[in-house]
């Protein structure tokens, strides 16, 4: 096998599991170190540059970083990355002076944003500092999109949302709120240089089973119902509520119901509990609020008596998986189950819908009625129209919308300057030694054995009666520090220099997880893996392979459970191992 090319930024990027898994590639270990150092504002700005909504995401992110976290492979639980982000947001000082300055002299280019959600706001954040004039259209009364209408206040307080949305609106966007864009054609006629569509996936899926029409007044589509609650149009619900669906929207629906008068609220889902789309912590929080989650139940019909919904029938099923892991739900030979209810919330998914885009203006749609886009540039088949967020490739999450926004902003800027949008900027990377003394590093390389700390919650009785009261209190500074110390600093890379190595084996002997081996080279990776000191069974993690050493052997390091403790480098007599901090940043169109 060839030596690992560590000059390729993607190699070390992949070692930083959390950052690699994050759609926006936020440099997680970098800001966690700043939190540990008490530099909350600095930690916040690193986040803000990358993910635009640290305070919001610190409460609501889907956290793709956490399942990826190396700590989860070393012990049971990953670092509470998401809640540490919130620590940075909670304890920062006033950062308004650190926000980019917006030039008074505009560059003469006008951009329209459809929707004022995370994708559009990210585009605005990236373009405003360059002098673009940006108009934003949204049917809601305020900015924030689904972050405002779908996420209940007990998870995301209004002031946190407002603060971070306003950082962007205050850059001087022209807002057209309470304005539903009903025709792309007429928007095109307004002579914008480019249009960005970040209108989300606004249509909640309905459940067409018998009784749906008769009981319409007691059946609500989850996302519409949450929106009505968010804007104060709905303030109560019946005592007995069934929430259908197993995603995070279902969790928000059931927990909101508990706060609006629902006493007997149940989540009923077709799939097995383990297969539910909702994040594990969301399910936990729902169960904690006395909401049973009944799985393997498929809705049969709505039962209406005297014109009034009284309950639903369900068929019990069990999940069967074929060799490829594909699931089928097999009905059990049991009578249908009847569940009483006063109201039903249907949260079984959402869809994209573009009724306002005329199909004869050059924007092509595919067989699923989704716009045809370039996956890198987010450009549609109409050159000056770009998509992002849920509107681009279907429902995802906030952090994905932000990542789309950054890329779309690059495209829009290049498009407006007449450059090839397919020509993408390379990521910015730095790699620098952390050496301070003979065996001293400028990062805290000691590995704490602490297990994941729990985020304190507000009193349950109180939170269930006040739907504006945030359930999670967040880490205080002391807990935040302790949790931050659990981070393994995966961005501080173990960099090996063949020319310095004297093959004394000191690194092999000291490595706590035995991830280093010196051995004869092999042509096949699978052969090499079998020869390593410790089992190297995680094929998703790379082997770091050196060039040939004087004994014709090579150094092979399995990246899988390296603790980045630096002991290999400390025990190395010739500094052939060095601990070097690798900073990877996705290039944005405007620098902070």
């Amino acid at each position: 096998m060839n030596p690992t090319n560590i000059a390729d930024p993607e190699y070390f990027h992949k070692v930083v599991d959390c950052q690699y898994a994050c759609p926006a590639h936020t440099p997680v270990p970098e800001y966690i170190r700043l939190i540990a150092a008490g530099r909350y504002s600095d930690a916040y700005m690193i986040n803000w540059e990358s993910n635009v909504f640290p305070g919001i995401l610190g409460r609501t992110c889907d956290r793709p970083c956490e399942p990826a976290c190396r700590r989860g492979r070393v012990e049971e639980e990953p670092v509470a990355i998401c809640r540490l982000k919130r620590v940075a947001a909670d304890f920062k000082d006033d950062i308004t002076a650190r926000l980019p300055t917006i030039p008074k002299d505009k560059n003469g280019k006008k951009i329209a944003l459809v929707g004022a959600g995370p994708a559009s706001l990210t585009v605005a954040r990236d373009l405003m500092p360059l002098g673009y004039s940006v108009d934003v259209y949204d049917e809601q009364e305020f900015g924030g999109g689904f972050m405002r209408s779908q996420i209940p206040s007990f998870r995301l307080p209004e002031e946190v949302l407002r603060e971070e949305v306003n950082y962007i609106l205050d850059m001087g966007l022209v807002t057209h709120f309470n304005t539903y864009v009903d025709s792309m054609n007429s928007l095109l006629e307004k002579d914008y240089d480019a249009i960005f569509v970040g209108s989300g996936a606004p249509r909640g899926r309905d459940l067409e089973v018998p009784g749906r029409q008769e009981a319409a007044s007691q059946i609500h589509i989850g996302i519409n119902w949450l929106e009505s609650v968010a804007f104060g149009h709905i303030e109560s619900i019946g005592e007995k509520v069934i929430v259908l669906g197993g995603g995070n929207t279902a969790m928000d629906c059931c927990r909101t119901s508990r706060r609006l008068g629902g006493k007997d609220v149940k989540v009923i889902v077709r799939s097995p509990f383990a297969d539910m789309k909702a994040s594990p912590w969301e399910k936990e929080d729902a169960i904690h609020e006395d909401i049973p989650i009944i799985d393997n139940h498929v809705p049969v019909d709505f039962v209406v008596e005297n014109g009034k919904l009284v309950g639903m029938h369900f068929e019990k099923v069990r999940a069967q998986y074929n060799a490829r892991g594909k699931r089928t739900l097999v009905p059990l030979d049991e009578p249908h189950v009847f569940v009483e209810c006063d109201e039903v919330l249907v949260a079984i998914g959402q869809e994209n819908a573009f009724p306002w885009i005329e199909r004869d203006i050059g924007i092509e749609f595919d067989q699923w009625d989704m716009p045809k886009l370039n996956e890198q540039t987010f450009q549609s088949t109409l050159d000056n129209v770009f998509f992002g967020g849920d509107a681009a490739f279907g429902p995802e999450n906030i952090i994905t919308a932000v990542a789309h926004g950054h890329q779309a902003a690059i495209s829009i800027d290049r498009f407006c300057r007449g450059k090839d949008v397919r020509d993408r900027p390379l990521p910015g990377t730095t790699l620098a030694s952390t050496k301070m003394g003979v065996h001293e590093w400028n990062f805290d390389n000691a590995v704490t054995s602490d297990r994941r700390f729990k985020v304190p919650h507000a009193d349950k009785e109180q939170t269930l009666t006040d739907r504006y009261l945030e359930v999670e209190l967040g880490f205080d500074e002391e807990l935040g520090y302790a949790e931050a110390e659990r981070c393994l600093n995966c961005d501080v890379q173990t960099v090996f220099s063949e020319s310095l190595c004297i093959e004394c084996d000191a690194c092999v002997d000291i490595c706590p997880t035995r991830c280093i081996t010196f051995t004869q080279p092999e042509t096949e990776e699978q052969e090499l893996r079998l020869k390593l000191t410790a089992p190297a069974n995680n094929l998703t993690q790379d082997l770091y392979i050196s060039d040939s050493l004087p004994t014709q052997r090579v150094m092979v390091k399995d990246e899988d459970v390296c603790l980045h403790c630096g002991l290999c480098a400390e025990r190395c007599p010739t500094a052939a191992w060095d601990m070097q901090k690798f900073l990877y940043s996705v290039t944005k169109v405007s620098k902070l």
Partner: protein, 350 residues
Amino acid sequence: MSYFKPAFRHPAAPTNSLGYHEDDYEGSLSTLCAGCGHDSVSGAIVRACFELSLEPHRIAKISGIGCSSKTPTYFLGNSHGFNSVHGRMPSVATGANLANRDLTYIGVSGDGDTASIGMGQFAHLVRRNLNIVYIVENNGCYGLTKGQDSATSDVGSHSKKGDPNPFESIDLCAVALQLGADFVARSFSGDKEQLVPLIKAAISHPGFAFLDVVSPCVTFNNNQGSTKSYEFVREHMEATGTVDFVPMHQEITTRYEEGASQEVCLHDGSVIHLRKGNNEYNLRDRQAAMGAIEQHKAEGQILTGLLYMDPDSLDLHSVVDTSDRPLNSLTEEELCPSLQALDNINESLR
């Protein structure tokens, strides 16, 4: 500088037949210089004891004074240990072994501790064939006192700041062979593939087992001109053959071609295989071993591997016919026989 090792280990780390992980055989974090060969020897001892599934509490590690003699702190943290006086490890080990013959004894010493101040004790320990693994971590210099030449430093070799050594060196393997040792091997700290099976074979040998391990002093004697540097040893070592050690309870899985290997069966049923290198080498021929050592030395080579072994070795207990059981298991009645017993002895001498 880190003063402790993280508590996390590889989640899929294998266990031995006792259910222990390799790190259960580790000790404290080493305070030796980074890159010291001694740490690799410690690592090899850890690996050997883990692979042999020895119970840590049935092992005693005994040492003298010096960098090498510090190392028992850095391995087998759950075993017995005695860090004795300079050059006096043999007498302390002898006392311990005579009192409790059931433990596995690992003596760790250095070239100063053995070939200089402890030469006299060493010679008599070999003669008496005490059942112990005696490891010399040989770096050819006094590292703890800043690198003066030691008695095993070769003529003409020079350390980092020294002149070429004018004195003839003591070859401890040759000395051990001459004094009647039944298991003599030489190895290199930088070659665990050779060292680990040798330590396992030495532990299983039923008498005195001597291992001279060239273990470079990375601080004072790893320079150009030294014959005990990593680079020099790698370039000049030649092995008698490749040693495989197969413990008695383990099935032999490797196939050996007829005539391509020598087998030595130990009394406990373990087997040592010596897969031959280029040279014909007879493990059972003491004179030939001494000759081979001399010949390689004359050619500027270092002969490593298992040099000589006699599996029918009779250790000190057998020779002097001591109690079959450790002293701590003897009852008062056995230790203090009655007056009648004394009378019987006296009567027999009349």
